[in-house]
Symmetry: C2
């Protein structure tokens, strides 16, 4: 799906390897998705998991929106729980989307 | 996993919805991964699929490397087959990775 605004905009690419500890994960992940969607500058969110590997991408209007989201109290708590319980490893990349094109079967 | 060179570098974010036509898909996907890894400017590749939804990201040194890869003959053929057979829809985004940080459980 094409984003709701044309480039340039920003992507936060979160690639992760999960532990086998699921305690509280689904509830927190759901809460974070809802909370993110309510933030100023939020555009969209896509997430795919295959076994322990996951890629989640949130799209944002600008870097300030990303910074605000990163530092929200509930989100900071979730990040801490992620490091303590849910993730073996992860990488977060902040990237500026410069171009996009889409195909849709007709 | 952290990329093998520090930012800035480029990401090609490919989000897709598959058809149920698997004919030739795995073979072509494998060939494309091998071929991409041989191209100048290639850094890394990550791909996750969950049901019909997929996110694949390739990382590149610069825009020229991406342009060359996009226009390689075998890759153009694969893209055409993708539109004809394997994908209901997809979006490709070209994004400049400006920052990254990683966590690894110790």
């Amino acid at each position: 799906m094409i984003a709701k605004i044309p480039p340039p905009y920003y992507a936060v690419i979160f690639t992760s390897v999960r532990t086998d500890n699921d305690q509280g994960y689904a509830q927190t992940a759901g809460h974070m998705m809802t909370l993110a969607a309510d933030q100023p500058g939020y555009i969209d969110f896509e997430s795919v998991r295959e076994g322990e590997m996951g890629i989640s991408i949130s799209y944002w209007k600008d870097l300030d929106s990303i910074k605000n989201w990163k530092n929200m109290a509930d989100h900071l708590t979730a990040q801490k729980l992620g490091r303590e319980k849910w993730y073996k490893s992860y990488t977060t990349r902040i990237a500026k989307v410069e171009r996009e094109y889409s195909f849709e079967r007709t």
